[in-house]
Amino acid sequence: MSALLEIIGLQKSFGGLVVTDDIHLALEAGARHALIGPNGAGKTTLVGLLSGIIAPTSGQILLAGSDITRWTPQDRVKAGLVRTFQINSLFPGLTVQQNVLLALSEHLGASAQFWRPIGAQRALFDRARAVLDWVGLGAYTDRRVSDLPYGPQRLVEFAIALSLEPKVLLLDEPAAGVPAADAARLLAAIEQLPSDVAVLMIEHDMRLVRRFARSVTVLVGGSILVSGSPDEVMSDAEVHRVYLGRAGDAGGARHA
């Protein structure tokens, strides 16, 4: 059985500082994998490497069997590898609907059309509506993103990614700083993803990890400490020592 996303010996160093050290990881179709680890463990760097914003020093990334290690970020997105950002990266001056339309129009190859008004493209609008309803943003459609509270903004971040119909979805702390109600909406939306989509989520909130993940990897100091089922990982003594224990409370550890 071949993995949808496979990371082989991925390494990244800045000068003498190794931030990603020999990472091996495979996600099957339908995976719900959580990546946890203390601050500075290299989690966001890994997402940067996978999405193509950072070039690896060595190693390989395979997506559905093809080597994408040297692909541009754009080509990776087109191939179905989509990420969200830990710190919102939205189009603040545009409306919620326009944020989603932008992504949809690129995804469906409409963005080079300069003559047909976007307002006349029913199909785009219908899909935008479907995505917004999916994440529970229907009430915010025509609001400017910069005018929204933080919780709904996080959902826009997620909605943009969903519009791109990912095969592999990388979520970088999707619920960080989000009120409980919006976090629940987010989780519900993730649960509605097609079952063959592989999801890799970086998260600090252990309750969220327990609800979401079927497998967990703990990253410490740029390398993998342990991988396994949530129960295995959370009962691992070493994990407790370096990570969970440090926050004092394994059940609700939550870093900023």
Binding site: S51, I53, P73, Q74, V77, K78, V82, R83, F85, S89, L90, F91, P92, G93, L94, Q98, L101, L102, A103, S105, E106, H107, A110, S111, A112, Q113, F114, W115, R116, P117, I118, G119, Q121, L124, I160, S163, L164
Partner: protein
């Protein structure tokens, strides 16, 4: 219904602009110059307002269009429609050549690079007197009557309507473009270029397209100036011209399409009146005006009008309640 009303309102505005021919028959040369600058400012709005690319050297394309039309006429190509098109095309090709180099930059470096490019081209044109005429510019050419019928004359009636028709066409073209998926993609790049890349957008390609398009319109404006005045001055390339057009745009309102047209008109009329009042300190009046408009509200004159209209509507609504 409201769409039909908007269409009628728009038609009425353009017709009243055409009526300037009857209302101010003695000011048509000045009115034509305003129309030319309005088109130039419109071309910059597409680039700066929508795609967020700040260019301090947009006169490069205005100048290329102006000179190309002059050279064509001197070489004997005097049909005023095709000459205009070819001159604009020359500006677009220049943008296609330098765009890939320029569009690697953003922010302050981009401002500096476009600025320096403008200075270099101006100095080069100044030295190349054999082809640019240097300080004397290009003179001694004319254009064939429009459609073979309407003759150019000192009364500037044909000139004004001809320029206005192109402004009207360019306005509707840009309107169409900014309402398209491509137009939305440009706004996406302005708002967040990194995220655009990560929704799979070909950011550089989008930017090059809009750059070429904007240069085409700037070149068209320059060529309109040449055809309507039968003269090209070296000042078409000047840095002042690049800066003036940015000021007009900011004054009128960025990313609104009405903004550049209103801004160009207000700037040139105030300049005209202030220069009559005091030929040395007119800049002071423009500066004060710009300061005032920017201070009162973002979005220039158009933004202030929109804010006032909104306040009126809100007041009427709360009154009704």
């Amino acid at each position: 219904m409201s769409r039909a009303l908007a269409l009628i309102a728009r038609a009425a505005i353009w017709l009243s602009l055409a009526a300037v021919v009857l209302i101010f028959p003695d000011e048509l040369s000045f009115a034509t110059a305003i129309v030319v600058m309005a088109l130039f400012a419109l071309s910059l709005d597409l680039l700066l307002g929508y795609a967020g690319i700040i260019s301090m050297g947009h006169a490069v394309f205005f100048g290329i269009g102006a000179y190309a039309a002059g050279w064509l006429a001197l070489a004997g190509w005097q049909e005023p429609l095709s000459a205009l098109f070819l001159a604009a095309l020359a500006a677009a090709l220049a943008a296609l050549a330098i765009g890939p180099l320029l569009l690697r930059f953003t922010g302050l470096p981009l401002i500096m690079v476009t600025f320096v490019l403008g200075v270099i081209l101006y100095e080069a044109a100044n030295k190349a007197t054999a082809i640019t005429g240097g300080d004397n510019g290009l003179t001694g050419f004319g254009f064939a009557p429009l459609f073979g019928v309407f003759r150019w004359s000192v009364f500037n009636r044909v000139e004004y309507l001809y320029a206005l028709a192109f402004l009207c066409a360019a306005y509707h073209l840009t309107r169409r473009i900014v309402a398209s998926p491509f137009g939305l993609a440009l706004e996406g790049i302005r708002e967040n270029a990194t995220r655009m890349m990560l929704v799979g957008a070909p950011v550089r390609k989008h930017l090059l397209r809009v750059y070429v398009l904007s240069a085409f319109l700037a070149g068209l404006a320059g060529a309109l100036g040449t055809v309507t005045t039968r003269f090209v001055s070296l000042s078409v390339f000047s840095i002042n011209s690049s800066i003036d057009v940015v000021v007009m745009l900011v004054l009128g309102g960025v990313a609104s399409l009405h903004g550049p047209i209103i801004g160009a008109a207000v700037y040139m009329i105030v300049h005209h009146l202030a220069a009559q009042w005091n030929p040395y300190h007119w800049m002071f009046v423009i500066g004060a005006l710009l300061l005032l408009v920017v201070r009162i509200g973002r979005g220039g004159i158009v933004g202030i009008i929109a804010a006032l209209a909104k306040r009126d509507r809100d007041a009427a609504r709360s009154h009704a309640r």
